[in-house]
Homo-oligomer: 545 residues x 2
């Protein structure tokens, strides 16, 4: 697909937004490119028709082109409605001045002179100037049936006529001609007949499957009527692009959209047939997926090729947008977890020792699950750094277990008693849930589950520390039987691990932007873990009650 | 975020594309909305300055607004540069005519009269008309420091000044005022001071974390200098929006982008403070992620909120875009798999019986893995239909095993010999690879691995059938010892399963559009399976050699 390019459109303005520079700029944006524009004429227009036209003076049109090209490096240019002779001449003059010394980027000329309804949009003198002065500069012209008929003074009714017309239009100087067949109904039999007569002609497009794709061809409906476009390149090749004909009233701006998307592809150095294949597909899907806007011929859906990101981009001022969103989405559950009564009492030193002892005994069992699930994470990892990170966490948990044993000893719980303690249902639920997420999903989903615990205890540690630091705070350290626990979770080692965890999921979310469906799955896992954490504190409090 | 809305911008045109209706329309598109426009004036402009201005006659400006509003249902309106008194009056006239009987949608007025560089952009008379006639119609006005100073005839230098200025500007009739602080440097201390004096004021924005987000606050850098915007609503609340001040020259069109994104949010029924929060974040990230375009003050990156889809949308004419892409991406490997010499010889009936026997004996072992991995797929599935589909496939494989046994018997291979056959390394590699993908990833990734086999054999079956049907085809059925195998894989039952598989992965890919990273993973799995399939045929041929 290539990177962002800058493209200039020289065309009319359509207030209704469906055609003209508005369609062009939306196409550029939808395909990820930057658009600039020089307006030839303003129209007061909507989906039912054109209510007014205001021509832009030729010298001001020229000035717009100069302003763009004097400053901005442009990778392709397209022209649409040029309005009149004077403005057509102004465009030629401006382009020739800028590209007198170095090569012009690809120039796509949509020779807008007859509208879809057959109405004339350009004076005959202007057409002559376009043919004589602009066509020789162009990489590609994109006439429709009526325009080609006007240019060649003959009627075009069949695919054979289209092939010879596209070829004959090369005489006016463009390096390629794409003759659009939207107004000619063709069948697969018509295309076959043409290709049998001239086997050098290629066929491409929807429903035209490559080798070894019989399973697709047999399962896709064979359309009765086709739209056929014919590409003829001065360098020789002729290609027919075919796709199913569709009934739609959302066709306003089809020609603008096609030439704009052609300019995008050519700006990214596509070959001519690659460009036509991608642009016709883009335009076709735009028609198929359009929803009705306005009472008449509505615009295409230009935005079908892009999708909104679920998670804002990371910036220096906002390094954790994903975690922030996770916490916001489960705000109530998260609060019940990290601001739990168990934690408050622990901070005040008023928590019943029986509650604390029950909690740390169960935490011992929980940590075994937590270590094992990191083993599963290592097993699911596909690179040495990921395997190492999961393994390092297991070592950290084993280290934590030693401190845990010492803490238990302080409260008179022996190693033997720890091992003998029956696992509570809350512990089983949480531990096995982690294991289940690990079995079901990918490593990112598993990380969501594992980090709800890491980050939540980090939050609890920081709250306890900040309260302890306040003169009127709710936390006392002096004489608090749980001081060691508080200092562990607010200390630099644990908080360092929290930061590593934060960076890990943010980097993961940024490198592999999720769809809404996947993001919702992640949120559900996060929320479930927060619920299970809350239940774990609840369990501790219940024992004292 | 809400669905697609239609928005009208009434503003100037910027040929360079960074500001004016071009920035507005790109913002609308980037946020997924449909834009319409009425142009007040054309500018010939680039990132270094304005080279020319061409005013649009007021009656034609009015005509553009009428064309849009007569036909299209508009959910929000924004105004930008109104150019002069006549055009300002024309806008007021047009809006009043359209909304005389029913309520106007949210109207955001960016009172463009002083540029970032301090230059005057609107005649003093025009400003008076805007204040007197347009402001009373507006939902929100968005002046910068200079504009607010001009409107209030006093200087604004501090956050306190901003709060009182925003409040005082309500006197002119807008339902809310957003005073933009881009030209005032503030610190967190300044904001704290204001909020201590007036505790009813809310603070929001980047680096301003909600409750229970200490882990984010402590790990995010505390910016020294802030940009502060003040929102004052006629209904009472005052909110300060803060974010880190950044050094950037990509700020051309910042005001246009902000008011355009505000209109998008209001069109989707956001509250005023939600709208400001999302619009300031959108605009800020646009500046942070911009790449340099032009030699001067370049445009923002409007497209940061969206991403290109990896897989084209499904349409009636193109129901299998994902599978087509998968096959195209691994075209060479896929061809070596489905058009393998083993298959050709089998079709001709010239394949050595020893080759075929070796192949079906190993296939027996392979099918055991294939069934077991579907068990794993069932274990990883999260809904009854998915569990059922995986289980049904196991039953189909068990059925296939029976036919397989019969086929083996035809070639003199007993059930006992089948079981005793040593597993070949190619079989182990393929079977265990499927199992590994199942352990490592999610169900979609596993489906990629499972379907390469299902669809590839489907393709082989169709090729054999189509060749057999041709008079000059390479396949003979009559007297072919492998006829039964050919008829099985080209038959309706197997081909029906192929179609179900195709629909399953296409639906999955459409419901959960993948990031490029994830798509590449899928392609790698697909390609690896095609390689293992090729190795499986190779193994068969080798035996005869």
């Amino acid at each position: 697909m290539g990177g962002q390019r800058t493209i200039l459109t020289i065309a009319g303005s359509d207030s209704g937004g469906g055609a003209g520079i508005q369609a062009d700029l939306r196409t550029f944006a939808a395909l990820g490119h930057y658009g600039t524009s020089a307006i030839t004429a303003l129209t007061a227009q909507n989906t039912t028709g054109v209510q007014g036209v205001h021509g832009v003076p030729p010298e001001f049109l020229e000035q717009q082109i100069h302003s763009v090209l004097d400053d901005i490096d442009v990778h392709a240019i397209k022209t649409g409605m040029l309005f009149d002779s004077e403005n057509t001449r102004a465009v030629v003059r401006a382009l020739k001045r800028h590209y007198s010394e170095h090569a012009m980027p690809p120039l796509v000329c949509d020779p807008v002179c007859v509208s879809t309804s057959g109405a004339s949009l350009l004076a005959p003198e202007a057409l002559k100037i376009m043919v004589k002065e602009l066509f020789p500069l162009t990489t590609l012209i994109t006439p429709n049936k009526f325009e080609a008929e006007l240019l060649l003074s003959r009627t075009i009714g069949s695919v054979e006529d289209m092939v010879s017309a596209a070829h004959d239009l090369l005489r006016d100087g463009p390096r390629a001609v794409l003759l659009k067949g939207g107004h000619i109904t063709a069948t697969l039999a018509d295309v076959d007949r043409v290709v049998r007569a001239r086997p050098e002609i290629c066929i491409m497009g929807e429903g035209m499957y490559g080798d070894n794709m019989r399973i697709l061809a047999i399962n896709a409906p064979q359309p009765e009527n086709l739209v056929v476009d014919v590409l003829c390149e001065a360098s020789g090749p002729i290609t027919i692009f075919a796709r199913p004909r569709i009934d739609s009233s959302s066709t306003h701006g089809t020609g603008c959209t096609l030439s704009a998307s052609l300019a995008c592809a050519l700006a990214n150095s596509a070959t001519m047939s690659e460009a036509v294949l991608s642009a016709t597909a883009y335009t076709h899907v735009g028609i198929v997926t359009a929803s009705q806007i306005g009472a008449g011929h509505g615009p295409l859906n230009h935005l079908h090729s892009a999708t909104q990101l679920c998670i804002p981009r990371r910036t220096p001022g906002n390094p954790y947008p994903f975690t922030q969103l996770l916490i916001n989405r489960s705000a109530a559950t998260w609060k019940e977890y990290v601001a739990h009564e168990f934690v408050r009492r622990l901070g005040q030193g008023t928590l019943a020792p029986a509650s604390f002892v029950h909690f740390i005994k169960q935490d011992y069992h929980y940590l075994k699950y937590y270590a094992r699930v990191h083993g599963l994470l290592a097993a699911k990892s596909s690179s040495f750094p990921l395997i190492e990170s999961a393994t390092q966490t297991i070592l950290n948990i084993l280290h934590e277990i030693n401190t845990h044993r010492a803490l238990c000893a302080e409260f008179g719980v022996s190693q033997d008693e720890l091992e003998r303690t029956e696992e509570a249902i809350e512990t089983t639920a949480y531990g096995c849930y982690l294991m289940d997420v690990g079995v079901q999903g990918d490593t990112t989903k598993l990380l969501m589950a594992l980090l709800a615990c890491l980050l939540g205890y980090g939050e609890v540690g920081l709250w306890l520390k900040s309260e302890a630091a306040r003169a009127d705070g709710a936390v006392v350290l002096e004489g608090n039987p749980y001081r060691r626990w508080i200092e562990d979770y607010s200390g630099p080692q644990y908080q360092g691990a929290v930061r590593v965890g934060l960076d890990l999921i943010e980097a993961r979310a940024a490198a592999d932007p999720s769809s809404p469906a996947r993001f919702n799955e992640w949120c559900a896992v996060w929320d479930q873990c927060a619920r299970l954490e809350k239940a774990f504190w609840d369990m501790g409090l219940k024992v004292a009650g």
